[in-house]
């Protein structure tokens, strides 16, 4: 009692030191929480913007629009327009034509008076003649005419217009000189050189270390599509079948428990272990061809299975027992109940789970490295079904492959490929979300 009388009277609303400290602690705690969320979101933003920033360049490519005279004498010396005869004119011949066209332009506009033909020709990609040759072989009527053809510029010139190559770095570079870059600038001012949309990036196969300008994702995209279709065809039926058994039929015993523990563990096994399994079991033991989409798909199927089984079981479990009881009540057998009534109702959930599992499989890299998909593949795999045994690449592996190369132009390609991969993933995940929104039923 005495204590109360000696202390000064105070309002209940003025906090004492202890309350202040507690409130401050409360505020701090809240701020920690907000900071944590912000750090997480910031990391996402930085990650995506860094990749987008360095990868968008890959979708634009420097090309030279040149009027090229397709000299019939050089390309078809016998003049009979026989494709077999014309195929004898190699890319070297075409390279000469392109260089000649560029030189003519340079001389006509007096852009670089002292430069030699060879140095002028170095502005052009070594891959450009092959494209022109394919075009002429496909359409022999072009012979003898003058066409305006977009010639791929060399990787260094491309890098110069994207800021990767500078005059200083060119002075130290054996592949390009500052004079050549000045010529390129003049060509741009003359409207002959421009940055155009790079369709080749999505359709071309990979190119060698020295020709980053023509490297593309064509083989990788095709390989990824093959694998995803196979994974879908294998993992979805097996996964759904396993889920139906485990959820609807399996008696509660040790054997069922064993399978369940197994599935849970398989979902958490590091993906690289699946790669080792694929290498040892499919390639070494069963003798399947290395780097083939078939082996990649089998490995990814085993990896995806638990990721399909878990959501599928959840979807089956979410179908209310009243549906089963009603079906059984009117005389359906257990199998009929499940296949005619339960499964159709669980389909949206199953598909959502399957698409998300597939999206994970699409981005998986490590297991594919081990089964040989890192190999340099320049030929498109054949048409299915035989094509699934041909060597192919996959988008994530192609990205890894490009990061291992010395020329910084490949970093841009790798980031560009990531954008492609993320677009695929975005489409798949949006599809899953739409399916869920549209068909989800709450009981």
């Amino acid at each position: 009692m005495t204590m109360v009388e000696t202390s000064a009277p105070r309002s209940l609303y003025t906090a004492d030191a202890r309350t202040k400290a507690r409130n401050a602690a409360e505020k701090r705690f809240r701020i920690y929480g907000i900071t944590a969320v912000v750090i997480g979101l910031l990391a996402l933003v930085v990650l995506l913007s860094s990749v987008l920033g360095s990868g968008l360049g890959a979708f634009r490519q420097t090309v030279l629009s040149l009027p090229i005279t397709l000299d019939a004498k050089a390309l078809d010396p016998k003049g009979n327009r026989d494709p077999a005869e014309m195929a004898k004119a190699t890319t070297v011949t075409y390279a000469k034509l392109i260089t000649k066209a560029l030189e003519a332009v340079v001389i006509e506009q007096n852009l670089a008076p002292e430069m030699s033909t060879k140095n002028i020709g170095a502005l052009i990609s070594k891959e450009a003649p092959a494209g022109l040759r394919d075009m002429v072989l496909a359409d022999p009527d072009l012979l003898g005419t003058t066409i305006t053809y977009d010639v791929l510029a060399s990787g260094r010139v491309d890098g110069f217009f994207k800021g990767r190559v500078t005059m200083e770095s060119a002075a130290l570079d054996s592949n390009i000189t500052p004079e050549q870059l000045q010529l390129a600038e003049k060509l741009r001012d003359a409207g002959l050189l421009k940055l155009a949309f790079n369709t080749g990036f999505l359709t071309n196969p990979d190119a060698s270390e020295l020709r980053p300008e023509s490297a593309g994702l064509g083989v990788a995209i095709l390989g990824s599509i093959y694998m995803m279709v196979l994974v879908l065809c294998l993992a979805l039926p097996i996964g759904v079948a396993a889920s139906i058994y485990l959820e609807e039929f399996a008696p509660k015993n040790r054997f069922t428990d064993l399978i369940e523990v197994n599935v849970a563990n398989l979902a958490a096994v590091p993906s690289i272990v699946y790669g080792i399994l694929g290498l040892a079991a499919f390639i070494n033991f069963a003798g399947m061809p290395q780097s083939s989409p078939l082996v990649g798909a089998l490995v990814l199927t085993l990896m995806t299975l638990p990721r399909i089984i878990i959501p599928t079981r959840a979807a089956l479990n979410a179908v209310p027992p009243s549906i089963r009881e009603a079906a059984l009540g009117v005389g359906a057998s257990k199998t009929q109940t499940i296949f005619h009534h339960v499964l159709p109702l669980a389909v949206p959930g199953i598909l959502t789970g399957a698409i998300i599992g597939l999206a994970q499989a699409l981005g998986e890299t490590a297991p594919l490295l081990l089964i040989g998909m890192v190999a340099f593949v320049k030929d498109y795999p054949g048409a299915p079904p035989e094509g699934i045994l041909d060597p192919a690449s996959a988008i994530p592996v192609q990205i890894y492959n490009w990061t291992q190369r010395a020329d910084p132009a490949f970093v841009e390609r790798a980031s560009g490929a990531i954008i492609v991969l993320l677009v695929f993933l975005l489409v798949m995940n949006s599809l899953a979300v739409i399916l869920r929104r549209k068909f989800e039923r709450r009981w």
């Binding site: 507690r22 409360e26 705690f29 809240r30 920690y32 929480g33 900071t35 944590a36 969320v37 997480g40 979101l41 996402l44 990650l47 860094s50 990749v51 039926p237 079948a241 396993a242 058994y245 039929f249 064993l258 399978i259 197994n262 849970a264 563990n265 398989l266 958490a268 096994v269 590091p270 993906s271 690289i272 272990v273 699946y274 080792i276 399994l277 033991f285 069963a286 085993l302 299975l305 089984i309 057998s333 199998t335 999206a359 981005g363 890299t365 490590a366 490295l369 081990l370 040989g372 890192v374 079904p385 035989e386 994530p396 990205i399 890894y400 990061t403 790798a414 990531i418 991969l421 993933l425």
Partner: protein
């Protein structure tokens, strides 16, 4: 006949079987459905199942077994004396297959006939140059025994193909006939086909067990092989990792385990506080709108492929840390470092910690919170003194799962941590991990005879056991905790 075409034929037969079975059942009772035990479709279904499933299963088993059987028979034909210096049976078998492929090509383009082939001998004709003509490059001249082996390999493979076709078709037609002849009005077709279907479902769920067995067998088998070539003691009780191609490598696991644990530790040091605080904030403080936006966005981090994080570490985080932290502090000049990989991996596993913790915090009963508030505790005090202790086992489980994720992660460390096996405390130095070494020892030329390659399986087994223990531990802890409040 190619396996694809064969499978199509079997499927077409099964399809026809369905309609034929249905038709026959209907015909037997003169369209009077009441006389049938089951609906007509079930009679068709039994025919389709008996036609397709055994035949396809046989085909799959044959395709898996054929190369193994043929290779073991052929490789016994080549005497050990004919193996070139420094080569192995596996490499020679690869040559055998290549030569056999070359023979097929030569037959196809007409430069060789079957009769010529029978008389052709490696010691009389220049196989290597003739192979080169059809685009098959061989490393060395062909030994006579290898060429004979290639001829036999080709013959056996051709025979295998033929036998496969014959057996598959026989199984398919056999099943077809068996099922068709069984059809009677009183035949319990629905029960038969449902039992059949149930066995298929069981087989599908056995794939999970098969996968585990496959993983364990392939790892253990090759690990045993590795320890036959490389002393057990050096693997576990030495401290240096230095593989050499010529042999005499030092292959100790410790530098790799150290790198793995160091990277994982940094990753967890990033992810656990951030993930946990984010989970607490989202579960306890955030308004519904904030939660509905921030939670899925954080989970996007888990959906981004690891190769993307790897590239992020390689081109952004690594150079940044090197130029702004490591070099000014004089700690190193490598852009790939434990810190780079650890930070990026930490970002990757934030959602693993936050999502699971979020679920677990939400599962703590509201009554505990209300009790704490009633005693006058502030919100943060409630979280710290009531909710977290109650959720602790679950959170530990979440952290263990995140740790197992970090240890098994490959692409981030391949691109971000470097390849030098070192035992060092400096986080700005490049170190390497178990997963990086599995990749580097197994990519490229995989010849399964040297300890340098086989060590990857021992590493894989270590990794598998490590993550398995962590996962099981986490599952047990989480499961136990969940039971508490039910």
């Amino acid at each position: 006949m190619t396996p694809g075409l064969l499978a199509l034929i079997v499927l077409a037969l099964a399809c026809g079987g369905f309609f034929l079975g249905r038709f026959r059942a209907l015909q037997l009772v003169g369209k009077d459905l009441r006389l049938l035990h089951s609906l007509p479709g079930y009679y068709g279904q039994t025919v389709a199942l008996f036609t397709a499933v055994p035949a396809l299963a046989l085909m799959a088993a044959w395709l898996l077994a054929q190369p193994v059987v043929i290779d073991s028979r052929i490789s016994a034909m080549i005497p050990a004396a004919d193996l070139p210096q420094g080569s192995s049976r596996n490499l020679v078998m690869a040559d055998v297959r290549r030569i056999a492929g070359g023979i097929d090509l030569m037959l196809a383009d007409g430069s060789l006939t079957e009769a010529d082939l029978r008389d052709m001998r490696a010691d009389f004709s220049d196989i290597r140059s003739r192979m080169a003509d059809v685009g098959v490059a061989l490393g060395a001249n062909v030994q006579p025994s290898v060429f004979e082996a290639a001829k036999d390999w080709r013959a056996l493979t051709g025979f295998g193909r033929l036998a496969l076709t014959a057996l598959t078709l026989a199984a398919s037609l056999g099943g077809f006939a068996f099922a068709i002849l069984r059809i009677r009005p009183e035949f319990r077709a629905r029960n038969v086909s449902e039992t059949f279907l149930r066995w298929l479902l069981i087989a599908a769920s056995l794939v999970a067990i098969g996968t585990t067995i496959g993983i364990v067998l392939s790892l253990v088998f090759q690990t045993v092989h590795f320890f036959q070539l490389y002393p057990f003691r050096d693997f576990f009780f030495s401290l240096s990792w230095n593989p050499k191609f010529g042999g005499g490598s030092d292959l100790s696991i410790w530098p790799l385990v150290w790198g793995t644990l160091y990277v994982s530790f940094i990753a967890l040091a990033v992810a656990v506080p951030v993930g946990l605080f984010a989970a607490i904030y989202l579960a306890e403080y955030a308004s519904k709108q904030v939660r509905s936006i921030a939670k899925p966005l954080l989970e996007v981090l888990a959906g981004i492929p690891t190769i993307v994080y790897g590239l992020f570490a390689l081109i952004t985080v690594g150079p940044l840390l090197r130029d702004w932290v490591a070099q000014p502090l004089g700690l190193g000049s490598s852009s790939s470092s434990v810190m780079t990989a650890g930070l990026v991996m930490g970002v990757m596993i934030i959602p693993f910690v936050s999502s699971l913790s979020d679920d677990i915090i939400n599962a703590v009963p509201q009554s505990l919170r209300d009790g704490s508030f009633a005693m006058g505790a502030t919100h943060s005090e409630t979280v710290k003194q009531v909710i977290l202790p109650a959720a602790l086992p679950g959170i530990v489980g979440a952290v263990l799962l995140a740790a197992s994720r970090a240890i098994g992660e490959t692409m981030i460390v391949v691109l971000g941590a470097g390849a030098a096996a070192k035992l060092s405390m400096n986080p700005f130095e490049a170190m390497t991990t178990v997963t990086v070494k599995i990749v580097s020892q197994l990519t490229g030329d995989t010849e399964f005879a040297s300890p340098e390659t086989l060590v990857a399986f021992a590493l894989g087994l270590t990794l598998f056991i490590f993550t398995l223990v962590l996962n099981v531990l986490a599952l047990v802890i989480v499961r136990k905790y969940r039971e508490q409040y039910e």
